[in-house]
Symmetry: D2
Subunit: 258 residues, 4 copies
């Protein structure tokens, strides 16, 4: 499809220009050592943006909640060291200011897609926003959430399809692959696919990433951990560093073939 | 079922003592005239708590967003005038302080059930909280959201079942009637049923309210408007004042029969 | 609601006349001893129709599939002995003829609601049909399935709401309580509620049955087993005989209060 | 993934050998003229199997129900004329015998995936079966339905993912792309993707077909009509002949690149 997608620039990376990009990194920033190890590996593999969570939204208040501001600073300095832009999630209005200082792109998580106060506040910044689809949100509601940003003046929006909640239980969520072409056609925003949260299964990351690119996605976002089985969050859906390298190689090759 | 429910007191109203109560009022506070008209009617009918929205979460940023602080002050003064406690929704942390000043109970809406920052902030207050179930949240996630309040020290929690999103299209959402006994048994909190948001249909409010009470609900919450067809929000699911009086009469009678 | 419901007569039982009736019996006919024990108990308790499965639709072909024709004959003779009409499920066209000979009402199960060949064949009989809602069917599709019967000449239809499939996992399905008034209003058929299949939980049968009646249901269908923990199918949602008696007593009392 | 898929042979076409195949044809056989026109075009384009419905399961009994046996004979003779194997749906046990005589592969539709009597009867034949996933069936239930065939002796099974029912309304169903690798890995059967029924939208057929192949599907099934806007069923999701040719060309090219 020959669409008019508004491309978004993050650091020196352009999303939505027809050349899919990769975002990768740990679910949570756990410490400087693991973050540097992952950053070095993803840069070597050809990934364009480093992700890492500092403020973590967790279903239970007793689960690991992230390192907060300290994690943000680590992410910033490691991004500088390896010369790669960084994206991190903000969960509340008061986190926007520090996150703007330390990150190149701000993510709104699935659970906050309907947090209209947060969206309006982000709309007043000029930061690129990675807006994840709520796992309970229709495509129409997702595009309306983007309008909360646009209304306040910020249209630097990249959408991220990360699966919706259905009755199927063999996957954590159901990747709505149709949402990729639909959100691009009807919203005009670049769309990234997150196969990790969509499936919750390491063994599906390759076929879902390939399917995402084939459906026209402008990028893929992956979770990587030096030792997935010891991750403080989301280990079961994270790639090890060698697995990440192999998959990134395959995805970059498919992107070139397009 | 002989359950150990933690009752919650709002003004001089006790919720969860085995004697179901009613909450009613307009979806949005639109002006002082309509609010006084509704307040007088609901008090006369035997309703225990007046509801009214000042900050409105709307799917589209271009829909009516509520009167904000002004609406809150109107709600407060009308509540005082008619000597009835008031409940209103807060959507963001900075709204908590003014809402505490002007309302007797604070509501967390379905779209914010996963807004963990907001929940944690409300957990630090001693206000009674009406915690609506997210329309695609499991009962387990709903009880976990309540834990965010409890963890910070606030266990004055009333849950509100307001329907979940399913494939059925003849109702706006699907009232999960099973969630009423389950959340009471497994959470130990009082549970209120909101048939208006659950169904989106005026013609279902009576059977769903009666079913809610029969399933053990500690109360029913209704939307009332002097002229539903001209309501700025949710008119199709609001009762007119005479309809409200008729239904409240029936519900109070059924409560006595229990 | 003052509705024009087409009542259906099964033996000497009238369904849909404003006086709710009860259907109860084992999920599967396992042997003559257990069936007689259950039949005696349900008749004593005031139940109007005895249910019992002979042909069982099971997800796995390796689960117990029912006694077939032998079960049907047992059901027939026990129904005669205790002077109570019997209902049983048919799963295929060739089962209709023997089932007509041995039962007073034929049930179409949830998995066959979209089996249009079976519906058309049943439409050519003059048997009362208990048409369960598919757990994946909208109310509109359910009423359309009833039209397959009506088109062939059979309008002796009783609908049965038995829960729909949603994302909630604490119940087997989600009882769609709104479907009770909607299917009655818009279809004009009597509607029975099946809380056992809807919830899969014995501890919810009482609140869901009471809610069903409060929402206007024309009857409740229950599973009973002399020793639920040893049942060959659906034990976890079956009542023991003393539990059944207690619940039936409560339901009949509530029906009288209406 | 290097999987052990049991390949299935239909006429001289092998499904599941690593070389994706295409199935195409009209939703319903409407008359000999349109069927010949479509058959000629799909054979020229490189499609391997011709599809065409004679017995049509329709939600409403008043919709077009197919030509029945006459349609079956047309399909058979046109298949012979153009030397291409044909697949058609059977909805009832009595249709199996004539369909075996006239078709090379028998399809079980989504609404009959839980029709265990039909599955058992098909299990007693040696025909290749195209088993569509029920639109609200879990992958586990789908594989269990296949077991009904296997148990009776027939393991010539090709699965077809055709979308599941979710809350999203911009597509008719939600293509569960994750089900493609999962059903292949865990069932060991070839899996075909049907983007027409999954989406109900002509504008999504290309991205969904490409995504299906990228996720590892063993084939794609498409609906084609000489004049989609005048189709007696499913016109909105059917391709015109020129659109089909363009898409088939693209899909065959992508298959070769693998």
């Amino acid at each position: 499809m020959n669409l008019d997608i508004r491309s978004v620039t993050v650091g020196d990376v352009h999303i939505g220009t027809g050349n899919p990009i990769l975002i990768a990194g740990p679910c949570s920033v756990e410490n400087v050592g693991m973050l540097r190890e992952v950053a070095r590996a993803v840069v070597e593999a050809g990934v364009s943006i480093l992700r890492g969570g500092s403020f973590k939204p967790r279903t239970s208040p007793y689960s690991f909640q992230g390192l907060g501001l300290e994690g943000l600073k680590l992410l910033h300095s490691v991004g500088k060291e390896f010369n790669i832009p960084v994206v991190t999630e903000v969960m509340a209005i008061h986190q926007i200011e520090p996150a703007m200082e330390h990150a190149d792109m701000l993510q709104v998580g699935a659970r906050n897609m309907h947090n209209f106060s947060l969206l309006s506040a982000l709309g007043k910044t000029d930061m690129p926003i990675l807006l994840k689809r709520g796992f309970m949100a229709t495509i129409e509601e997702w595009l309306m959430a983007a309008e909360y940003l646009v209304k306040e003046g910020n249209d630097r929006i990249v959408l991220c399809e990360r699966g919706i909640r259905t009755f199927e239980t063999w996957t954590r969520n159901t990747l709505d692959i149709s949402a990729v072409p639909l959100a691009r056609m009807l919203g005009g925003y670049p769309v990234i696919v997150d196969p990790c949260h969509a499936s919750g299964r390491r063994d599906l990351l390759e076929p879902l990433s390939l399917a995402g690119l084939a459906a026209g996605a402008d990028g893929i976002m992956l979770e990587v951990h030096p030792d997935p089985d010891k991750a403080l969050s989301d280990g079961g859906q994270s790639l090890s560093i060698p697995e990440m390298k192999k998959l990134v190689f395959k995805l970059l090759k498919q992107s070139e073939n397009k």
